[in-house]
Subunit: 164 residues, 3 copies
């Protein structure tokens, strides 16, 4: 439990140059929403979908960040600012991924089952980027601000504008 | 009254593939904001503008969705996720319209009176799309994610990128 | 103190054509967040960073507008609607500046020290625009909806699309 909070603190302190003191971390929206996600994800895995969504919504109301409790998220995940972020039910996120505010990891409405993106390790997704459908964003990819991504992105590349 | 909630439930259940149980509906942001809009709209029509805005703001604080109480909205309207949606005072929305989060139905700041869009039946507007001015979006139109629309769109078309 | 509220009222009433009555002003998200910013900014200047961020977060939870308490803001500043606005720590904003919802005045992650934009007088920044890095937006500039600005903009110009 303590190591969970320690890791969360380290991730936030590493990612945000605007942090001035240790206790500020508990004011970060990501801190709140990630705890809510963890509880919601636990309920989701045990098929208590109402409670899963209850915690998800609780976190969203306080932060503007909507992480579906069914999403799978790796280590050292971080969302900066965060208002407007939406992460869909079947999204899979690897380790060391950073999102900024306004990012959508969503579906196209045409697929069933796994219908949200897979994000591999060390990916950075800029402000307002929209990634739709069951596609794969490779390792070390950088997605530029407001980019729209509708097909697989190979590893070690940078994507801007509309990529489809 | 009961039929109002029944219709609202049906609309949400039809639109969201991630719903798992009936009672989840009451946790949906659209469920909350639509009830607030309905009350605010009633006050607006009777010229109690302060209370109209009070309910509009109340709904917005809980959901991140800002529907001006003066807007006119048809049947089976649905907003998915919803953070960042702004719907202006003189907007007119037809039946079976679906919006995603981050959509703006706003004004250009140059017009007076009717200065927001008219959306006809069966329109789908993707994440982050911006539709500005007193323009008309025709029937069965699909507006792509992050599109910017500044002039009339004919029926049965799909719009992406900047359309002006 | 009274003149502070009078000025705030005048700024809001001047900028929003949808306002119907005087007291509506206290319901405006900008009204709330600007008061929180002023208190947070006071704490920030006296190096109480925890309390500075506390008020900043308090305002953000109620409005979806994130103004870092370290930002410097001039007279007659106004944010319309506001959900999704992020203003970074070292941003400098001149007089008579208007932002719409979804605007980011952020950093690129590559700079240290002054890493956010400088906005000069009489600038108007449209919905969803993203302005990144230690760049200068000149006097009387208009930035279009969803524009991405990554380099200095000369005075008296209008910017749309990607500007880099």
């Amino acid at each position: 439990m303590i190591s969970f909070f320690k890791n969360l603190y380290k991730t936030i302190a590493k990612n945000d140059p605007a942090i001035h003191s240790k206790w500020e971390v508990i004011l970060y929206p990501f801190f709140k929403v990630y705890i809510c996600y963890k509880i919601g994800h636990f309920f989701y895995q045990h098929h208590f979908y109402f409670f899963a969504r209850l915690f998800s919504e609780f976190g969203k109301r306080r932060t503007g960040i909507e992480i579906h409790p069914g999403a799978t998220i790796g280590k050292n995940f971080f969302i900066d600012h965060g208002v407007g972020v939406v992460i869909g039910e079947t999204t899979i996120i690897g380790d060391n991924v950073t999102l900024y505010h306004g990012v959508t990891l969503g579906g196209t409405g045409k697929e069933k089952g796994k219908r949200h993106p897979t994000i591999e390790n060390n990916v950075m997704i800029g402000t307002g980027a929209t990634i739709l459908g069951n596609i794969c964003i490779g390792k070390n990819v950088k997605v530029g601000a407001s980019a729209i991504v509708l097909k697989d992105v190979p590893s070690n590349t940078t994507v801007v504008g509309i990529y489809h």
